[in-house]
């Protein structure tokens, strides 16, 4: 029974990866189409000094052309979203099946971390759409999910084994679950910060930019504000993760803080994001410096989940490898 459930989970996961890949392609083509759409303003400017009728005619043609392109662009995007939802359903099925095969929550080793982390990233990306339309992040979200899921499944896959004594506690749901959710918000914020940096560079030099799709997304100040609001949610969740981890550490190891390598890196990530929030309240540190801090933060998160789990000694050695 366990074997069948685990195999079924793998089938669902590989299917999800395939659908993510297709969704990624659709989102990427959507961005490319946005880039290639000619600016109506530029077209009209060329006709300014010329014959009046000519410029009007040009404007009309461009107007209809952009309209046609707009509807085609949003169709690509809509297909991308539909595929992302489908991938999410398959992904969710994979995680649930793995959990049923295990008999416990599916996040007890590196493979399962990757499985659930990528699922959380997609979930947060989809749910956030109800709050703000972040369709331009589709490429980033599906690509990141695909990479995390793919690397985890191909490199870290392990057979189902019973849960270690030390993980048999309600805190595995609270502490690890909230940590995974927090990292999804950090990842989304980092994506927005990345776009913010690209957008800021384009704003400084509009002609020199080859990333035309940036025209169609909010300006860098708006992007920074969105990134801030996302990261702040992640920061609160991460603070809770830290506290919950300390409470569990006291139950399991006798002390609520012992500077174990994973505890150290959780602390480092917390301090970096605290620095991010401080930076946005400091004159001279809004804009690009804050964006860089956000990206450094997500780099630290990735380091925590890979290098620290795999190569560093410590009490948190549950990679299963």
């Amino acid at each position: 029974m366990t074997e069948q459930l685990a195999s079924a989970a793998l089938v669902a996961i590989y299917s999800a990866m395939a659908v993510y890949a297709i969704a990624f392609v659709f989102f990427a083509v959507d961005l490319a189409k946005r880039s290639s759409a000619r600016e109506p303003v530029a077209a009209a400017a060329t006709g300014q000094l010329g014959a009046f009728e000519g410029s009007v005619a040009v404007a009309e043609r461009v107007g209809t052309a952009t309209e046609a392109r707009t509807s085609k662009v949003s169709r690509l995007e809509r297909v991308g979203f539909a595929l992302t939802v489908l991938a999410w359903l398959l992904h969710l099925a994979g995680a649930v099946l793995r959990g049923l095969a295990n008999g416990h929550v599916p996040w007890s080793n590196m493979f399962e971390f990757s499985l659930v982390m990528s699922l959380a990233l997609t979930t947060v990306f989809l749910v956030v759409q109800f709050w703000q339309k972040l369709s331009y992040l589709g490429t980033y979200a599906t690509g990141a999910s695909l990479i995390v899921l793919g690397v985890g499944t191909v490199n870290f896959y392990v057979e189902v084994t019973p849960l270690h004594d030390s993980l048999q506690s309600v805190w595995i749901i609270i502490h690890v679950g909230v940590a995974i959710l927090a990292t999804s918000f950090f990842a989304l914020g980092a994506g927005l910060s990345l776009l913010q940096l690209l957008q800021a560079r384009r704003e400084a030099n509009p002609e020199g930019s080859r990333l035309g799709f940036l025209r169609t997304i909010p300006d860098s100040v708006a992007l920074e504000s969105l990134a801030y609001r996302t990261i702040v949610v992640g920061f609160v969740l991460w603070t809770f993760t830290l506290i919950a981890g300390a409470i569990w550490a006291e139950r399991a190891w006798g002390r609520f803080w012992g500077w174990d390598t994973k505890e150290v890196w959780t602390f480092i990530i917390w301090v970096i994001y605290a620095g991010y929030i401080h930076a946005r309240a400091t004159r001279g540190w809004r804009g690009a410096p804050s964006a860089w801090l956000s990206i450094i933060g997500i780099a630290a998160v990735i380091f925590n989940y890979t290098i620290v789990n795999l190569f560093f000694k410590g009490l948190h050695a549950y990679s299963g490898l």
Binding site: S225, E250, G258, I268, A281, G314
Partner: protein, 551 residues
């Protein structure tokens, strides 16, 4: 505003006119630099950076064995790292300097802001600005008389402001009416909880630091190996290893006796990927107090046992074969259970027996115990399963001076064989002794015999269970800082939630008469801190109020 001058919401600095600074002037300058936002930011990032080396190099606090191994494998580099306290990063001078400076900066910032906030909590909302259109979230709603209202029903500016005041008050704003250039207006402010939360958060962090510092000085933790059936008397000398806080005193140890009644393990038998993996460790213990009271419990992973103000945690476990050594004259020279230290996951265990009272020669033995003995192709033994399925004890015996009379403390788990004569096993020419529970072997040259005692009456193939005692190692912790740290941490989290998500706003509504009849309502808002929803909030307020007035 009592915020640092480089806070994003402070007024930009005036052009610099540098006066001559005296000593006090310089002191103030350094203080202002220390409490500025930029310094706090640098210190925070520096703290993150400084914490990294502690994860790259083993630390004495979390991995003392790793530190020893590091010294052995890097004899040249290790002392250099030790000199800059890289094996004690989190207690080091440089790390402490960073977080202490950060906390000084924090205190220096929080105190004036608290004073200012207390004043703000008691004060009324400020006067309405003369020109509301200069504010970011500004919007206008006009209600001309031609929109279906007769002149007698048209609201006056004063009435409109009255309804605005009621609306804002119902939304938990603090309101105050002012007249601005003849036009009535209302000034409102809400969201003081944001700043309160901010101050609570930062103060709570300080609380965590103080709790950990104070409580940690009175804390202690110690480790002890207890064999099944044996008692552990809670005095300093009983511990195998002990780490006290700075202000710890021996008499702080609560008196009790802890006995390990039995130790149970389950072995995985269904999942072939983890066959034989031990789990569900249960150490049944009983604690006895001087008053005669007893309390029993089970120590498990994630479930410590509380006794005498301390908490007892389960660390490791293994086997403790009971050995009896009779010397050349037939007297018992040694008779007790010896903890054998596990060397691998299947509990291949190594133990040392020292019988200094043996006559004519002191006897020392190095033994390997295999709970489920399996013969390797090399001819050596190894354990195949951690459960007691086929127990075997092998011994090498030495005679000579064990060195115990020199007055130098020696570990009970090591035997220095340099000055000893090997008489059984190894190169001695005699085969190593191999014993099953209940068996006895004679030593050569009439030096005596050694018996591997069985704890059960009738040991034999298929019936070994319980024939060898087990031991469990325990970790005893006492830390009075725990509750303080937790309370302050939760306060910090609540303060953080308020300071990030409660919007602090000022809203103004001004009403003026329109030239052609009717009224013109101006709305403006100002946010203190991040408030991305300000414009929407003001627009929504304007629409609601306009509908209220029209009715």
């Amino acid at each position: 505003m009592s915020r640092p001058s480089d806070h994003i919401d402070s007024a930009p600095p005036a052009p610099i006119n540098q006066p001559e600074l005296g000593l006090v002037g310089y002191a103030r300058f350094f203080w202002r630099q220390l409490t500025s936002m930029r310094t706090a930011l640098f210190l925070l990032l520096l703290l993150a950076l400084a914490a990294i080396p502690g994860s790259l190099v083993p630390q004495r606090s979390s991995d003392p064995n790793g530190v020893v191994q590091y010294f052995e494998s890097n004899p040249g580099l290790a002392p250099v790292l030790d000199a800059v306290q890289l094996f004690d990063v989190y207690g080091s001078v440089w790390f402490s300097a960073i977080y202490l400076l950060l906390f000084v900066s924090l205190i220096g910032c929080v105190i004036p802001r608290t004073a200012h906030h207390l004043k703000a909590l008691r004060s009324r909302p400020p006067r309405t600005p003369a020109r509301l259109e200069r504010l970011e979230a500004f919007t206008v709603r006009e209600i001309p008389t031609t929109s279906g209202l007769s002149t007698t029903d048209a609201p006056s500016p004063a009435e409109a402001i009255e309804s605005a005041r009621e609306l804002l008050a119902s939304r938990r704003y603090r309101v105050e009416e002012y007249e601005v250039r003849g036009a009535p207006s209302v000034s409102a402010e809400r969201g003081y909880l944001r700043e309160t939360g901010n101050l609570v958060f930062h103060t709570a962090l300080l609380g965590v630091l103080v709790s950990v510092g104070l409580g940690g000085s009175f804390a202690y933790n110690g480790q002890k190996v207890i064999i099944e059936g044996a008692p552990f008397v809670h005095v300093l000398g009983s511990y195998d290893s002990f780490n006290p806080g700075r202000f710890f005193d021996e008499t702080d140890l609560e008196p009790f006796v802890l006995t390990l009644d039995r130790f149970d393990v389950d072995y995985e038998e269904f999942n072939l990927n983890a066959y034989g993996r031990p789990g569900n460790f249960r150490a049944s213990v009983t604690a006895r107090y001087p008053s005669g009271e007893e309390s029993s419990g089970v120590v498990q992973v994630n479930h410590p046992f509380e006794v005498g103000g301390t908490k007892v945690y389960l660390l490791g476990n293994g086997y403790a074969p009971t050995i009896t050594v009779r010397d050349g004259e037939g007297n018992i020279a040694f008779n007790r259970a010896v903890p054998f230290l596990p060397q691998d996951a299947e509990l291949t265990s190594l133990g040392v027996i020292k019988a200094p009272d043996a006559v004519p020669e002191q006897l020392g033995m190095i033994g390997f115990f295999y709970p489920t003995a399996g013969l390797l192709s090399t001819g050596a033994y190894a354990s195949a399963h951690a459960d007691l399925l086929d127990p075997l004890l092998t011994l090498r015996v030495y005679t000579g001076d064990l060195g115990l009379d020199d007055g130098i403390p020696i570990s009970v788990f090591t035997l220095d064989t340099d000055d000893l004569t090997e008489i059984v096993g190894g190169d001695s020419g005699v085969e190593s002794i191999e014993l099953r529970p209940g068996e006895t072997a004679e030593l050569p040259d009439g030096l005596g015999s050694v018996t591997f005692e069985s704890m059960t009456a009738d040991p034999g193939p298929g019936n070994w269970a319980g024939s060898v005692k087990r031991f469990a190692s325990f970790d005893v912790h006492y830390n009075p800082a725990e509750w303080g740290a937790l309370t302050f941490a939760i306060l910090a989290l609540l303060g953080l939630l308020c300071s990030l998500f409660v919007p602090r706003r000022r809203v103004w509504v001004k009403a003026a008469e329109l030239a052609g009849g009717g009224i013109r309502l101006e709305y403006a808002g100002l946010a203190r801190g991040e408030d991305p929803g300000l414009a929407d909030a003001v627009a929504e307020l304007a629409d609601t109020h306009r509908d209220m007035v029209k009715r």
